[in-house]
């Protein structure tokens, strides 16, 4: 079985898993862990969109 997701899907999956681990390991309480995990995911996903637009501008 071979998996070939789009770049966007692969980047979002990457963000999800990395955010879960960052959230759990970098904060102490459950509430802080959830908040930090969501923050990391938002930063990752926002970075993907930002990089996408920057590449689009550079290409034009």
């Amino acid at each position: 079985m071979i998996l070939a997701p789009s770049h966007f899907t692969a980047a979002l999956l990457f963000s999800l898993f990395a955010s879960v681990v960052f959230g759990i390991t970098q904060r102490s309480t459950s509430r802080e862990q959830i908040r930090y995990g969501l923050y990391c995911f938002a930063m990752f996903a926002g970075g993907v969109f930002l990089a996408g637009w920057v590449m689009w501008i550079l290409r034009r």
């Binding site: 071979i2 070939a4 997701p5 789009s6 692969a10 990457f14 898993f17 990395a18 681990v21 759990i24």
Partner: protein, 144 residues
Amino acid sequence: MADSLTNKKAPAAEEAKPSAPPVTVMSVLAPAIGWLIPGAGHLIQKRWIRGLLLMASIVTMFVLGLLMQGHVYQPNGGDILDILGFVGDVGAGGLYIAAQAMNWGQGAISHATADYGTKYLIVAGLLNFISVADAYHIAIGKKP
């Protein structure tokens, strides 16, 4: 006078010195088990939800990396990027050992996003290193 100053400062200096973390069975076992089986270092310390989430994230990431035809690095002494790739991969512990034993991640790449697979495998290992450090901090009481 220098002696008296030194004598006066000595107790304060001793107080400021951070105490070494206690070496317990758990402080050795949790990181070792956590490296071998991602998330297990938390599970043996009864951090069930954290352990299961870490395990699910790291194992899923590693398996997705393999399914995307990511490259599993062999132990090597050549190019610096290959060495770093190996260091990242080996962080996944038992998953890396299983992949090596089954000769996974060595096939010819047939699509463009396979490089994502390689990065997934490396990052799964690196995330497991963080998870191992966290399990150790819980074991020595530095983290609840």
